[in-house]
Symmetry: C2
């Protein structure tokens, strides 16, 4: 069992040994659901960040009732608990607690889809429910409903992503905004139901978020105030008509115009989904790994190789996508508005009918031995089109392995073959994700700030701008490195620190961070963080839950 | 000075007299901005509820800095502070504190529109800014932007309504949801900026609500955790094309179909505004007062008189409205969808062009001495059409005076002439506003619950169902009475209590309440309210701010 704890069990009424604490946990969840062996701890201690943290143990409760008892035991023995849903918090620390020695509360066993309301279009789920599982469940039980999915892959938890305020691609791309009603186990073992959920017969508990009185939901995202054991999430009724749009521009300087055009349509309410605009490198990284051979190992990516890759894969400086849904008539009208706004750019529309035709075409072409390139294009477009309809896919995790070198199990040489878990292939990955107003000049300024930093540290900026609301845009850039290369890993860490500092000081504060990034968040006025701490003390005076999570100090 | 205080100044370090406290307040805000004369206190102590509460004094700070100092003085002298924005919280207690003896902090002087961003479409305002003022401001400085307005009239505060989670008619009908960034004076005088607002240079402070870390905004709505002195609110870019739709049904039982049809379009994202569906009495109450003569003073309204009024005013059992905006093409497509969904009902569409034509027609008709009825209809439709574009109007307050008897200054006999302030004409008014899932069966059940209660107590149910989100519907019903009639007033109080109890127990919990209603809110599990109290103690350990506000106990 690991002893690398900084947070030692505190002297308490009846504390006496770690063994006793684990025994008490075992008596609640079953001995098979408490692990403290080296292999397990090593696995949970992995992270795409330069350093992971080694937990003291991993406990897997199977019900809200068990979570309550785990919390009570933690209080008794002075344990620190770090709840995870599925631990797939890629690029933000995966399953790792902020500090070593916390007990991971793995909620993966609590994976029930408790309810699906087809009329009102919502589901009630537990934290262990994965994107893939929910998608399958809907296919079978409510094929008329779509969910929203992130690019984090089918194994990622819906609740986990939501509580970190992740986002996807559909009309309900802002995940936190489309939840309704949380069940939360508090640090003292009480169970809080937010919204109207605390009224036994509440009819609107899953349809009206605020309830009456103060709205407490916001306290449980990006914090450590409770363990969320259940949420309601809204689903999207399958529209009468749907089409995805894909646009491209060949010139880097077009970013401004693209952002302005799309954001204006968003603010008019004409477009309602998240709109993603990725740079060439981000797209290339989902098709292939860094060209180590071709560059002779040089980094960052030389401009001429970058230009060549762009040509070879037929992609532009910027590639964007989003979707339109409604009636046939309204979709046609909005398509026209999109075409008008993107005049001068390549825009393509794809719907179920065209996709089916393309699939048939591929079959014919491959039957006569041609069409490899067309097939490859379809391989890229299909999962993306799926995401626009909320279908989770493994494809979009590829970028995580961008800078991994050489042959790796599960990853072909300089090829984008799948790796289900980036941590299995030594992928170092840190997301840096500042928020900016959804306007072209802001996009340009963010690029102007980050590109030279990436370059200086020997990396290249893989960038997506996502217009998530009518006014805000999140720039997600991944700092990819090979974790086996200690020098590169250390350099990535310094690059990350510089990016965070420069961006926050320029006013582009991240929407989400790892524990490493959270340390930088205190650069603003202290009142906000002081109030956060006051509330934390009120909710969890002994600091049992996830100490360090989203805490700048 | 009024001495009707239940909450006496507490013995504190240096407390000595109310006079000394008022002196200290005067030294901060100026002696002319501290009132404790009987006339002022009486005016602030009025309410449409059966009973108002008499404040100890009224203090009117002119800046955030002054609010901080007022809070510090309150702490020193043990005063209780009840902040109001404009005090126009009609039907929920107006300007009254939950208990007598609180010092009203009237923020009406803080009425600056601090910023309007025309590109990103938002404004930053202080609590004293009224709906009418903001509308005028936009007319002059940003005519390309629309706001959302409630029916509470031009004198109501935007911030005040938002913090009680009021709603209006446009795409941004859910006011709280369309705020971004709050400045809040806490009970200890610190100033908290939520979202990204606490980062000095934050670029996304008015465009991305969550900021990073827990989101605290929800704590400051329907609560007493701080005094909000500034908020960002999102505005609506004037659309290329716009049309209002108005529908009617003659049969009571059609409510179910209407709600189901409109909610389905909302969930498809085809309709994006709030959709209001009012019963005959609600519409009649905005045209005339209760027919006291015709009924010979009998209440509730006899069915035959009700039927006659319906015929005379040409209105149906249910009347609804909403709006569509977008491009010409998309508006035409959505109109078609609305027509399809409302097949069998009367539906009318109105846009700027048709309205201008109707105005010309009225002029012609009145020039030849006819068209009185057409003119009257236009008088009703125009303000409603304005509200669909966020233009505040006085018209919709008329219903408040429904049961006021006889001749009243500012109100013609049995006529709907304007009364700017319902409290000036003895209007008793209590809103009861349960939330239900946006589906027909729920609407029917709510009607089935409330109508017999209204009848039993001698009132009639004036009802609007507003589909505020894709899944939730708020039923607002006004219990109107004549405050000069003590027996009726007492009966209204009992009717209100019964309505609240029955609705909450049936699971239809109000979205908002007066202090009278708040006492009923504790009928659910206590954990939620206990946590609320814990948070309150953490933020305001001495209970300085608005004790009793949204506190069930």
């Amino acid at each position: 069992m690991s002893r690398t704890m900084t947070a030692k069990p505190q002297a308490n009424d009846c504390v006496d040994s770690v063994g006793e604490a684990l025994g008490a946990l075992s008596s609640v969840v079953g001995v098979e659901h408490v692990c403290a062996d080296g292999g397990t701890l090593d696995r949970y201690g992995r992270s795409g960040m330069p350093e992971g943290t080694m937990p003291m143990a991993v406990v897997s409760p199977g019900s809200t009732q068990q979570v309550r008892r785990v919390v009570e035991i933690a209080a008794r023995f002075g344990l620190k608990l770090y709840p995870i849903s599925r631990g797939k918090n890629w690029g933000y620390g995966a399953a790792c607690a902020p500090t070593p020695g916390q007990v991971i509360v793995d909620l993966g066993r609590m994976n029930r889809v408790l309810e699906v309301d087809r009329e009102l279009a919502y589901a009630v789920i537990e934290p262990g429910v994965t994107q893939g599982q929910l998608w399958e469940h809907l296919q079978h039980h409510a094929p008329d409903l779509w969910m929203d999915a992130t690019g984090a892959g089918p194994e990622a938890s819906v609740v986990g992503n939501t509580l970190d305020r992740g986002f996807g691609h559909t009309r309900y791309g802002d995940h936190f905004l489309h939840t309704c009603g949380m069940e939360v186990v508090l640090a003292d073992g009480r169970v809080l139901n937010t919204g109207y959920g605390h009224y036994a017969n509440a009819k609107a508990g899953r349809v009206y978020r605020y309830g009456v009185g103060p709205s407490l939901d916001g306290l449980f995202a990006q914090s450590n105030f409770g363990i969320v054991t259940r949420i309601g999430i809204w689903l999207i009724p399958r529209p009468e008509a749907f089409c995805g749009y894909f646009f491209q521009s060949q010139r880097e300087e077009d970013l401004e115009r693209l952002v302005d055009a799309m954001a204006a349509l968003r603010r008019q309410g004409l477009l309602q989904t998240a709109i993603h605009i990725a740079n060439d490198l981000r797209v290339i990284s989902s098709r292939t790994r860094y060209p180590w051979q071709r560059t002779g190992g040089r980094t960052p990516l030389p401009e001429e190789v970058r230009a060549a890759l762009r040509r070879e894969y037929g992609i532009g400086a910027w590639s964007g996508c989003g979707a339109i849904s409604g009636t046939r008539g309204s979709v046609a009208a909005v398509k026209k508005a999109v075409k008008g706004a993107l005049r001068g750019f390549e825009v393509k529309f794809l719907d179920d009918g065209r996709l089916a035709m393309a699939r048939r075409l591929r079959r014919w072409l491959s039957a006569v031995g041609i069409g490899g390139r067309f097939g490859a294009l379809l391989d890229v477009v299909e999962p993306l089109y799926g995401l626009l309809q909320g279908r989770p896919s493994i494809e979009h995790l590829r970028g995580a392995a961008w800078r991994v070198r050489g042959e790796v199990a599960g990853l072909g040489e300089e090829d984008g073959a799948l790796a289900i878990d980036p941590l299995d292939c030594h992928a170092g990955l840190m997301w840096v994700s500042p928020v900016a107003p959804a306007k072209g000049t802001s996009a340009r300024e963010v690029m102007r700030l980050i590109e030279p930093i990436y370059q200086r540290y020997g990396f290249e900026a893989l960038v997506t701008f996502t217009i998530i609301t009518e006014r805000a845009m999140c720039c997600v850039t991944n700092l990819a490195f090979d974790k086996r290369d200690t020098e590169e890993t250390a350099r990535a860490g310094r690059c990350y620190d510089t990016l965070m500092t420069v961006l926050i000081d320029a006013g582009y504060v991240p929407y989400r961070t790892s524990v490493h990034g959270a340390r930088k968040l205190g650069r603003g006025s202290s009142v906000f963080w002081d109030v956060r701490s006051q509330l934390k003390r009120a909710m969890d005076p002994r600091g049992i839950l996830a100490p360090g999570r989203y805490e700048p100090q």
